[in-house]
């Protein structure tokens, strides 16, 4: 059995890594102008020219942003599912994307863009995170169902504020707002913050992974097996929330990646977080990179919000999984 697990670990992560590389190459090749393999190969080997700037200056930052966003969301989703011990949890379930959306829409309403927009989206996400943290912690005693309820109700509150902002916004800004709400990578031209936070997130989570395995069996059981529950819970909440906040700031609220990817992997390899977390990063990143490539090409030169693609892919996959699941 141990060999089986090691075998899966040896095969799974390298193959997902190859998938990730393939998805990025795909994203470099396709777009409003398709670059053929010989040209692609030439650029990868150092050839200059128009193709080079198209691939490396335009498409690579966007592909890297897509990968980072997908990885962040899948990792945050996997963490939230363990934290709430609910396989249906996603990174947005506690209202972080709602807070970010309110921040982003308000700044759009005031005519801001660029750094102001991303800044206020991130600020809204942090505000929402602190609000839920404080409210859920208020009683002293803290249960995952209490956190879940607090978060879900806050998310509903943000939803109402979003509708209100949409209702009072001038028509000219509605399109941009809707694109933001559906998740959109067309302004994500600096992937570095996302990639760095993703790397830090993975490094922070991996040493906690076996604790998470135990936590997923209940807090009392985890306590009896030597896990210091309260610090672990808050660590996971903070890490998952920060990852989500950065993802939402990069790309708006892209749905379903955070829900479906951990679920899919759990069906394939079980619930060992030591494998599941890194695998979720690679698979989530690849999925969003492919989805964003589709979003750029399906109705090119027009672009679709990537959230539409992930939802269109995610809904049938999720329903299929739900049908198949034994319980």
């Amino acid at each position: 059995m141990k060999n089986g697990v090691l075998m899966r670990k040896r095969v799974l992560l390298p193959s997902l890594f190859l998938l990730s590389v393939a998805s990025v190459i795909l994203a470099l090749a396709f777009g409003s102008v398709t670059i053929r393999w010989p040209e692609l190969w030439a650029v990868l080997n150092g050839a200059g020219g128009l193709n080079r700037s198209l691939m490396l200056d335009l498409r690579l930052p966007r592909a890297a942003s897509a990968f980072a966003t997908g990885g962040l969301l899948a990792l945050a989703g996997a963490l939230m599912q363990v934290l709430l011990r609910n396989p249906l949890a996603d990174p947005y379930i506690l209202g972080i994307s709602g807070g970010a959306a309110v921040g982003a829409l308000l700044s759009m309403l005031l005519g801001a863009s660029g750094a102001w927009l991303t800044g206020s989206a991130f600020g809204g996400a942090l505000l929402s995170m602190l609000l839920v943290f404080t409210l859920a912690h208020g009683h002293g005693s803290w249960t995952s169902s209490h956190l879940l309820l607090t978060g879900v109700v806050c998310a509903a509150g943000w939803g109402a504020v979003i509708s209100f902002i949409l209702a009072i916004s001038p028509d000219a800004q509605l399109r941009g707002m809707l694109f933001w709400l559906m998740g959109n990578l067309s302004h994500a031209d600096n992937p570095w913050p996302g990639l760095i936070v993703l790397a830090l997130g993975v490094m922070a989570c991996l040493p906690l992974a076996r604790n998470l395995n135990v936590l997923s069996r209940g807090e009392l059981q985890a306590g009896a097996l030597g896990v210091a529950i309260a610090p672990l819970r808050w660590q996971i909440y903070l890490i998952a929330s920060l990852l989500t906040a950065v993802a939402v700031t990069l790309a708006g609220s892209v749905g379903f990646v955070g829900l479906v990817v951990p679920h899919l992997l759990r069906l394939a390899i079980g619930n060992d977080q030591r494998l599941l977390l890194p695998a979720a990063v690679l698979l989530g990143g690849s999925l969003l990179t492919v989805a964003d490539t589709l979003a750029r090409t399906v109705v090119a030169p027009q672009q679709l919000p990537v959230g539409v693609i992930t939802a269109l892919l995610g809904v049938p996959v999720f329903l299929y999984l739900l049908q198949r699941s034994p319980r």
Partner: protein
């Protein structure tokens, strides 16, 4: 040698009701204790408190000579294990993976379970008659099989003190006897200690040498089994007359 677990002037309450007040206990190695009381009197709450999973209102619990509150959780988990009444498994996992989590307190952050850990888990599964089920999904097990798996996890944890919340729950008669035989034999042979909550007086009489009775309103009594398990105490404990017969040298309890 100090007692394995010492309880000093302990007060525990839940939902405004007192479970025990001024409780002093010394659980020595080799002893098996039964905790008796009506439904909802606070047996489980007391058990969780003794495991350090819940703070008492007052008093101190010592593991060997160290106050429980000063010890890291990981250290406690290497000495004390708890069998809970309910197990949660919202995510899929196999029988072997479940048994293996018993090794968690012994592994460092980056460690994977060693060959030896796997062997311990397999031995524990064999001890509860579940070898051959290692790769089955835990979610597909019956209630009795789940209980045996939880006991196998506890054996894999290999603790000094076993705190068992209704260990005979869901088990058929054969498994009640073989599994309690196993746990009690290990306890006595290896100088461990065991505390079990249970409602079956005949099992308590068969396996325990000491008993603690919780009467409610903080009142308790404790001591060697023959002095505690009397018709008078039991009638007070359960509010129901209970008769004690001697059958083939064994004491048998029958409610009227």
């Amino acid at each position: 040698m100090p007692a394995l677990l010492t309880v000093n002037d302990l007060a525990v309450s839940i939902a405004g009701k007192s479970v025990c007040r001024g409780l002093n206990l010394a659980i020595e190695r080799g002893q098996c204790w039964g905790i008796l009381g009506r439904n909802g009197i606070g047996k489980t709450t007391l058990l969780h408190t003794l495991a350090g999973l819940r703070a008492p209102d007052a008093g101190t619990i010592y593991l060997e000579e160290q106050p429980l509150t000063r010890l890291p959780r990981r250290h406690i988990a290497q000495s004390i294990s708890v069998l809970f009444q309910h197990s949660e498994d919202p995510f899929p996992s196999t029988v072997l993976e479940t048994a293996l989590i018993g090794r968690h307190p012994y592994l460092n952050a980056w460690d994977w379970e060693s060959e030896e850990d796997h062997m311990l888990a397999q031995q524990a599964l064999a001890a509860v008659g579940m070898d051959g089920m290692a790769s089955r999904q835990a979610g597909t097990l019956s209630g009795g099989e789940r209980q045996r798996l939880a006991i196998a996890t506890l054996l894999t944890q290999d603790p000094q003190l076993l705190l068992l919340d209704e260990p005979a729950n869901h088990l058929d008669l054969h498994h009640q006897i073989t599994i309690l035989d196993l746990l009690v034999r290990q306890t006595r042979e290896r100088g461990k200690a065991l505390l079990m909550i249970g409602h079956d007086l005949n099992l308590t009489a068969r396996y325990c040498d000491h008993a603690l009775m919780l009467f409610g309103e903080g009142e308790t009594t404790q001591g060697k089994l023959p002095q505690i398990l009397t018709e008078e105490n039991l009638a007070r404990l359960y509010g129901h007359p209970i008769q004690c017969f001697s059958v083939g040298g064994k004491r048998v309890f029958v409610p009227e």
